[in-house]
């Protein structure tokens, strides 16, 4: 008897629990529970260094949103998980964030391969992933919001600059990359682009090194050799990643290459890669992003001081005076999401997606960025930075206005 009442009590409890749980998404606007955002950034493994910066930026931005009263009268809460730089783990944890934690949207991933692993999960669950990195393009999903530039609006303007009078009329190109999808796609696109510019194949050279390669003697020697051939000014387009970046720079410096002889355009070089280097002999080598921390705008001053305060207040191990583009992109992503939710008065994926189209705000780089309604790529400004002696970038050139993102490059498949 006793046992039966207990069981039925538990049973009815379960039913009521299920009953209240089911209509919850519909209640969203009236509820006072926090809205959850999934933060899918590695805090261990090879990507920990970079991705933990983004995790903390996201948490800082969420704090800021909450300080302004949250969204729809509710607080926002970041749910942090650690995919440990293990690509399948990203998929597993994203599923957990959407299904178990009922996150309204996900922010995360650095490498393209991790994004590709999350993609089927967000598509199957019809959720949204905000992706903060510049990447190889050639992808467009209604469940991914692309916060950074595809190559057509970041790499090609930089190449154009180097081929122009100001950049020294580059005529010959040495492409060196780590051996994986991003460098190979970029170089494929570049080769197609060079073809339209009537640059002969003999003026191009394409080389790949294994992941984590640190011995660049042969490569640098070949670069010197290549530059000495006739046919005009040579430049290096460098898509090596991770530890290979400082290794390559070190070897180039030791073999006497300066930016005035052979400029290196390092597409994945951010300020944090220059940390362990003496950058005096590297002055003048280039990189291109949508944001460099030396840009002089009130928004940027604000962003940098916010980050500094956040790092010191929370005792984080990051450098308080270093901000990189993907951090800004993460910050933009959360703010745009908050704007869209406010406009839609709902956190439902469909409503947010509709409201997101055309959302705009002023970013720290000083541009009024805008969400493209059809491609869900963000229109952003473009900048070329030149390495300075203080382990950072000076801004050499910036686009007058935001640039239209082109997800699918017309130059791929031409070469």
């Amino acid at each position: 008897m006793k046992r039966r009442t207990f069981l039925s009590a538990v049973g009815s409890g379960l039913v009521t629990a299920a009953g209240t749980a089911l209509p919850k998404p519909a209640l969203a606007a009236g509820s006072t529970e926090p809205i959850k955002l999934g933060l899918l950034f590695s805090q261990s493994g090879t990507m920990a260094n970079n991705e933990s910066l983004l995790k903390d930026t996201a948490l800082m931005t969420i704090d800021q949103v909450n300080a302004k009263g949250g969204v729809l009268g509710r607080q926002v809460q970041g749910v942090v998980v650690d995919p440990a730089s293990d690509w399948p783990m990203y998929a597993q944890l994203s599923k957990q964030l959407i299904q178990r934690d009922k996150c309204a949207a996900l922010f995360g991933c650095w490498t393209s391969v991790s994004r590709k692993s999350v993609l089927p999960v967000v598509e199957a669950n019809d959720s949204l992933l905000f992706y903060p990195l510049h990447f190889e393009g050639e992808e467009q999903s209604k469940n991914v919001v692309y916060l950074n530039s595809p190559p057509s609006s970041s790499v090609l303007p930089a190449i154009d600059y180097l081929m122009g009078d100001q950049g020294g009329n580059a005529k010959r190109f040495y492409m060196i990359g780590s051996d994986y999808v991003w460098p190979r796609t970029i170089n494929k696109m570049l080769k197609g682009y060079f073809k339209t510019k009537n640059i002969p194949d003999s003026a191009l050279r394409e080389r790949y090194v294994p992941f984590g390669q640190s011995n660049f003697q042969t490569i640098v020697r070949e670069i010197k050799d290549f530059a000495a051939q006739p046919g005009g000014q040579a430049i290096v387009v460098m898509t090596v990643v991770g530890d290979s970046i400082p290794a390559m720079f070190k070897e180039a410096v030791n073999q006497g290459i300066r930016a005035t002889d052979i400029p290196i355009l390092g597409l994945d070089v951010v300020d944090s890669d220059l940390e362990g280097l003496d950058t005096k002999p590297l002055v003048g080598h280039l990189s291109c992003w949508c944001y460099f921390q030396n840009v002089d705008t009130p928004q940027n001053t604000q962003f940098k001081s916010d980050w500094k305060n956040y790092v010191t207040a929370h005792g984080l191990k990051h450098r308080p005076d270093m901000v990189i583009d993907p951090m800004v992109s993460t910050n933009l992503g959360i703010n745009l999401w908050a704007q869209a939710v406010t406009k839609a008065k709902s956190t439902g994926t469909d409503a947010v997606r509709k409201a997101l189209a055309g959302q705009s705000m002023v970013d720290p780089a000083g541009y009024t960025v805008k969400m493209d309604p059809s491609s869900q790529y963000l229109w952003r400004g473009d900048m070329i930075g030149s390495i300075n002696a203080k382990q950072g970038f000076d801004i050499l050139w910036k686009s007058k206005d935001i640039v239209k993102p082109v997800p699918y490059s017309p130059f791929i498949g031409k070469a």
Partner: protein, 538 residues
Amino acid sequence: MMTGRWLFLTVLCWLLTGMSTSAWAATNHSALLAAFCATDGNKATALEQFVEAGVSDETQDQAWARLIVDAIRNSALVCNSSGLVTIQGTPPLDAATLKTAANSNPGDSPYVPSIVMMRKLMVASAEIDLFSGQRDTRADAARQVDKSFALLDPAIITKAIKRERDPDIASVLTLAMAKRGLGSNNRADRLAAIKAVAEVPSETARTALANFVAQDSVRSDPEVLAAVQSAIAKIDTSLSFGRAFSILFSGLSYAGVLLLTALGLSIVFGLMGVINLAHGEFIMIGAYSTYLVERFMQAHMPGLFDAYIFVAIPVAFVISAVCGMLLEFFVIRFLYRRPLETLLATWAVSIALIKLVQVLFGSQNVEFVTPGFLNGGMQVSPGFFVTYNRVFAIVLALLIFLATFAVVRLTKLGLLMRATTQLRDMARCLGVAAERVDRLAFGLGAGLAGLAGVVLTQIASVNPSMGTGFVVDSFMVVVLGGAGSLLGTVVSSLALGEINQFIEPFYGAVAAKVAVLLLIVLIIQKRPQGLFALKTRV
């Protein structure tokens, strides 16, 4: 009366000229700066004006122009919206008078030179330096001018050649002029220029000639064409010798790194038979010890800073050796003759060590200031450039090998080590304290790995997981060389290094790696005991 008036006039004149020169200088400086800062102005023309001031006979102007050009190169020159031009720094300077100026507005950012401008600036400062009083400065400047001969200002170089007393510097400048003289329309000039350029083969000489031969006017002139083609052929021959030497050298330097990282393992795995997967972490510990030494020396003995790398050698050796002995005492001695368990245990230790260092130092690359004498390199012959850090690695690898060889072959510890590994039970019967010998040998192996870490700070990036990449290579070398043979380790690292670097220029780094690994598989199939097998009775 007359003399008095004369005297008065002379004084007046002297006063006037004196005043007017300094006043003229200051206004002239501001005018030059204003021309540079004008938003619609041509920066290149303005720069030429600076150079003109820099090569004038006024030493004051010369110093000023050098300073301004340097400031522009370092992107420290700020054109303020108020019209004032300042040089960033603490305190900021007024660029015209070089006196302390007020801080510039936060909105005014310095001028960032483009690549084209940076080239011009480089030549500009070299041209100004040609008139410096220091011989070395002039020699450096002359080399720089020669390297970027296409941009030089012939009038200034001619002037510099006339004033130059040092025949070496003058000849470098003449050569630069000759490279530029290829552009002349006079056939005799052209032939003379070709001859002069061919005299000193170098990559820039080849570029100059190759660009020259591509011109239509050259192709139509058979005499010039023949001359330039034979000149190019001559340069190519000497360059290809240089290239062959470079391949040999980079093979040697790769072999040096392999030898360094494998030497410790050849003792631990080769002699003792312990499969130590934490070997790479001892390398990492050596590198971080170097880092601590570097930091310490920077803070407390800045005068001797460059010597930190030598101080780090014993420190890293001792720290790694102690860690190795601790590992042996707490883990490995219970697992002798159980290879599978050793493998798992040392793997766990390896991961634990990586995480520990990550917690202590963070996971980013740590910053090393390269000692001055390891920066840069030397042009040994045309096309053959040697970097000092690689030479350092090769020499140190050789010295460490010789020392290890001596320890194993000539000392009592070495004798006991060999005895214990060859016939353990007999050695114990004869009174050898086998456990102690094991511990010391393991410590020696770990210490050697630490030494590799010291050298690698100058070549590779240093982070907690740096060791994992080297473990595989080290095992490769030791297995191929034959377990237990130090000589085999040398030969196999040399062979692997040279083969790898010989393939890389032709088929790329990935293919080189594949080829080397396949080769090892083949050799191990034919000779499972490795190239140099040690005869043992177990």
